[in-house]
């Protein structure tokens, strides 16, 4: 640290409003997304429910869920937390925070436009990229000022050497605009022909789910774990290895084994999927070595969230690697297995890691006692079992569905019916996650509003005292 580096409170001051804009919106979209997820899930209990409402049919509620979850929650939360990490670790105030606030507001407008587009039937038809073109353009334009400010912040850092979290954040900030602009341009602005579209869409979703989410999530894991356990990160080399292998292999995942494309593409993607075990085992080793021997009980706090997130990443990636083997993909392809793996990644890994990081960061921004520890614990005990209840039945149900699907003597109606039990159990998980997400929204909004309310009261009190007190020395 150099003599001129700003103090931590000054850094947090510069981060407060941008992070409120990003994280507050993210919490709102997250709660709304789980409501759509619940609507979609209820269709497996009563298919005729809401049958007269096109906007809430399964084919629109489901993409609304994934759109709000990924673009409403994951992106702004990951970027918001990443910005704070860049500022904190670089020991520098955020450069031009108003650029980020502007970008965040525009981003949320883009998410809203995308949501309305999906509900009114303007979806693009590409999974994980459903928002119509105007929304995609708004989202891209919103991301630019945020990236500019982030890179400028990083360039002005006073702590020169980079901590592993910073590599992950910087790579994530490069990754998203690239994959998003490629996919939007080649699918919606100058659409390519036939199956090339599907290839681009799969490349995009693979990079989004298997690279971007781990990059943004692991940045938090590697920062929060050492802070909470009071032990140094074990070790920088392991983190470096995980970083390189993650971006090297993860970026080739995404194309399913059954894709009607030239055979080299699914084959290459399958190999990359199996190779994903390498970075994830490095992450597991690093997390275990950092946490081992720590006696502090996590008690539903940020440490609980972060550790559960890391475990979910390991489990989800193991499922990804298994389903990349040809013998297994013959069974798991086209089933709920893949969706179970993705929900475990989104809610179990990314959501939980973000909750942990946000619960760690927010007290720095608004004061230590504005998040009630009890409500934080309740949040954990809703979302953690909810995630398991949502994802694991889908994984198990997907395997039994696949085994029946490859047996052509079983009529298809029986195959479809056999999945209903798993889907109905997962609805219970969805209900718990929805409640947990509402608690999260309440915690975040209460913390920030509590802070701004007290600031407002102070200002008001100062403004109304007698004249001499207002004269500045």
């Amino acid at each position: 640290m150099t003599a001129t580096s700003p103090t931590s409170p000054a850094i947090d001051n510069s981060c407060r409003l941008p992070l409120f804009a990003l994280l507050g919106g993210a919490a709102v979209w997250l709660a709304l997304s789980s409501v759509f997820g619940l609507i979609a899930s209820l269709k497996f209990h009563a298919p005729a429910m809401l049958a007269n409402c096109a906007a809430l049919s399964y084919g629109r509620a489901f993409p609304a869920w994934s759109h709000l979850l990924v673009y409403g929650f994951c992106l702004p939360a990951g970027v918001g937390v990443g910005l704070w990490l860049l500022a904190r670790l670089g020991r520098v105030e955020l450069v031009k925070p108003w650029l980020i606030v502007m970008g965040a507001k525009l981003w949320h407008v883009g998410v809203l436009v995308g949501l309305l587009g999906i509900l009114s039937g303007q979806n693009t038809g590409f999974e994980w990229l459903e928002m119509p073109r105007p929304a995609a353009v708004i989202l891209f334009l919103a991301f630019v000022p945020i990236t500019v400010s982030a890179f400028a912040t990083n360039a002005r850092r006073s702590e020169i050497s980079l901590f592993p979290s910073q590599w992950f954040v910087l790579a994530a900030l490069l990754w998203f605009p690239w994959i998003f602009s490629t996919a939007t341009l080649l699918l919606q602005v100058f659409p390519v022909r036939g199956m090339v579209q599907a290839s681009v869409a799969w490349w995009f979703s693979g990079n989004l789910l298997n690279v971007w989410l781990p990059l943004a999530g692991l940045a938090c894991t590697f920062y929060v774990l050492p802070k909470l356990t009071g032990r140094p990160l074990q070790s920088h080399y392991l983190a470096l290895f995980a970083f390189w292998t993650l971006i090297l292999f993860g970026t080739w995942t995404g194309i399913p084994a059954h894709a009607p494309l030239p055979a080299w593409m699914p084959t290459l993607s399958g190999v990359a999927g199996m190779m994903m075990m390498i970075p994830v085992l490095a992450v597991a080793a690093s997390v275990i070595k950092t946490c081992c021997g720590v006696k502090t009980s996590c008690g539903g706090g940020p440490l609980c969230f972060t550790r559960f997130g890391a475990a979910s990443l390991v489990l989800a990636t193991m499922l990804l690697a298994v389903s990349a083997c040809p013998q297994a993909s013959r069974v798991t392809d086209y089933t709920w297995f893949g969706h179970g793996q993705t929900t475990l990644r989104l809610y179990g890994f990314f959501g939980m890691t973000m909750f942990g990081a946000i619960y760690y960061i927010v007290p720095h921004l608004v004061g230590p006692d504005r998040v009630c520890p009890r409500w934080m614990r309740i949040n954990f005990w809703f979302v953690m079992p909810g995630t398991l209840l949502l994802a694991l039945p889908l994984v198990v149900g997907g395997i039994t569905q696949g085994l029946k699907l490859v047996d052509a003597t079983i009529p298809f109606v029986d195959v479809a019916k056999s999945t209903l039990m798993a889907l109905r159990i997962s609805t219970l998980g969805e209900v718990m996650i929805t409640l947990g997400n509402l608690i999260f929204l309440f915690n975040i909004v209460a913390a920030f509003f509590g802070y701004y309310w007290s600031v407002g009261k102070t200002v008001c009190a100062q403004a109304t005292v007698l004249e001499p007190a207002r004269v500045r020395p």
């Binding site: 497996f44 298919p47 429910m49 049958a51 007269n52 049919s57 399964y58 084919g59 993409p63 039937g121 979806n123 693009t124 038809g125 590409f126 999974e127 990083n154 360039a155 020169i160 050497s161 980079l162 910073q166 590599w167 910087l170 790579a171 490069l174 990754w175 690239w178 490629t182 080649l186 659409p191 022909r193 036939g194 199956m195 090339v196 599907a198 290839s199 681009v200 490349w203 990079n207 970026t251 080739w252 194309i255 399913p256 059954h258 009607p260 030239p262 993607s269 086209y334 089933t335 709920w336 893949g338 969706h339 699907l405 490859v406 052509a408 298809f412 109606v413 029986d414 479809a416 999945t419």
Partner: protein
């Protein structure tokens, strides 16, 4: 790593590699694909969908049908059946050649009821020498190639789907999930427009135990005029509208069904050949037949 330039460089190299692999390379390999000729009959494939079906593709996309229905058929190898069609005139030599292939074929019964399926082999490399051995005696044999695999056995297609099938699709929706059956060849399986409309309105009326949600918003509940509308949907009593009302499909429903019955990926192509004749099971109902 101390320098953020190094981080950007490694990220750039990794991402540009997969960008070249999964964005640029397929564009070079498939991006300029045009209509291809089917084999052995030299037809153009695929052909663009007729107008109403093209509108229906938009309805299919906007309703998110892809979240439950794939349009992609898998295949696990082929079966080459060798069929003796003509015994020729030199019977003893033919029987001798056949007897060398399998001693069970060595007697005169083999030539009694032609065409006769002799054997089934795994590929054309195995079939060619057998054909030559039979052909050299003056007899005639042919190979019937058919696809294998659970999807084919379910009747979801006659061959696997290939990139050529999606040439004119925008968006191309091969799909990742089968909460419902594969639709790549639904137009072959169920070409009856009236059935498709009834199934959309009340899936359980047509498929007992169906888990598909009904798409009632694609239909209009209309007060019965002096005469029932010719377009009104004939439904079983428990799904029918109450007395004095009728259920009429909207333009969207008609377009969607026109798209569904247009779905067929069954042209034999160089990359996915087959010569097996169409199964006789599919009900041969003309798409424009009057509603029953």
């Amino acid at each position: 790593m101390k320098s953020s330039a190094l981080v950007f460089l490694t990220a750039f190299i990794a991402l540009s590699a997969s960008w070249s692999g999964f964005v640029l390379a397929p564009q070079l390999q498939l991006g300029r694909a045009a209509q291809a000729k089917t084999v052995p009959v030299q037809d153009q494939y695929p052909v663009a969908r007729p107008g109403l079906a093209a509108q229906g593709a938009e309805v299919y996309r906007s309703l998110g049908c892809v979240y439950c229905h794939s349009q992609s058929v898998g295949q696990e190898g082929v079966k080459c059946e060798i069929v003796l069609t003509d015994a020729g005139t030199n019977t003893p030599t033919t029987l001798g050649a056949l007897g060398k292939l399998n001693s069970a074929f060595g007697h005169a019964d083999t030539l009694a009821a032609l065409p006769k399926t002799l054997m089934s082999v795994a590929d054309m490399n195995a079939a060619d020498p057998i054909l030559k051995a039979i052909g050299s005696t003056g007899a005639k044999a042919q190979v019937i190639v058919s696809a294998l695999g659970p999807d084919i056995s379910r009747g979801w297609g006659r061959r696997r789907t290939v990139a050529q099938d999606y040439l004119f699709d925008l968006p191309a929706q091969p799909g990742d999930r089968r909460a419902g059956p594969d639709l790549a060849n639904v137009g072959l399986r169920q070409p009856d427009v009236s059935w498709q409309l009834r199934h959309l309105y009340a899936p359980a009326a047509e498929v007992s135990g169906s888990t598909m949600p009904p798409y009632r918003f694609l239909f209009e509940l209309r007060k019965l005029g002096k005469l029932p509308s010719p377009e009104a949907l004939p439904l079983p009593s428990q799904f029918a509208a109450s007395a004095g009302w009728e259920i009429v499909p909207t333009a969207k429903a008609r377009a969607l069904v026109a798209y569904l019955v247009s779905l067929r990926a069954d042209a034999p192509l160089f990359e996915s050949p087959f010569t097996a004749p169409a199964p006789a099971a599919a009900p041969a109902v003309a798409p424009n037949s009057p509603a029953k």
